[in-house]
């Protein structure tokens, strides 16, 4: 809970500072600062995500689930977080086209990760059919 207040305070202060920097002669530094704060907030919140993930892994091992599927899901979540981060930064700086391409790349990578699972589902369906 304390992390939330820290993050909100940091975000408020930074928003005002970025507004201020954008008025100066180097508006590029405003983008740099916003990227920096985004990375800081992400780094702050990552330990919590890792806690949740460890609990999910424990549950999966108790249910004797195949760890391959769970690992794939976590990889997909990680890819989406990072891609969202990058795309949001690009869009904030006014480069919507680059942001769209980043999201496209992330979607392709997620698809590549998901293909083995789809293949496994199809295989089991084929096995069910006579």
């Amino acid at each position: 809970m304390e992390v939330l207040f820290v993050i909100i305070g940091l975000a408020l202060v930074t928003t005002v500072l970025v507004l201020f920097v954008n008025e100066s002669k180097v508006p590029g530094l405003g983008v740099v600062i916003s990227v920096f704060v985004g990375a800081l907030i992400f780094i702050q919140i990552l330990p919590k995500i890792s806690y949740v993930i460890s609990i999910f892994e424990e549950l999966a091992s108790r249910a004797s689930l195949n760890t391959f599927y769970l690992a794939t899901i976590f990889k997909i979540i990680g890819i989406s977080y990072i891609a969202e981060f990058g795309a949001q930064v690009c869009r904030d700086a006014g480069q919507g086209a680059i942001a769209t391409k980043v999201e496209f790349a992330a979607k392709v990578l997620v698809m590549v990760l998901a293909v083995p699972i789809i293949a496994a589902i199809l295989e089991s369906v084929v096995r069910l059919l006579p």
Binding site: L29, I33, V35, F36, F42, Q44, S50, F74, K75
Partner: protein
Amino acid sequence: MIGGTGEILFLTCLAIVVTIIHTFLKQAGRDEFAYLTLVLGLAVGLIEVIPVILDLFHQVKTVFNLY
């Protein structure tokens, strides 16, 4: 308290100082040096920020088992 709060203030101070130097040089008629200060300020800011982004990527890699 998050480590790295000081760097935000540093970057803001950098923007202010670069703006002042830019205005000063422009008044003195040295437009090329004025532009160089802008580039230098941006480069210093990026050098300051890039290790943090690298750290973020490494942490995400370890948390989500992305290899």
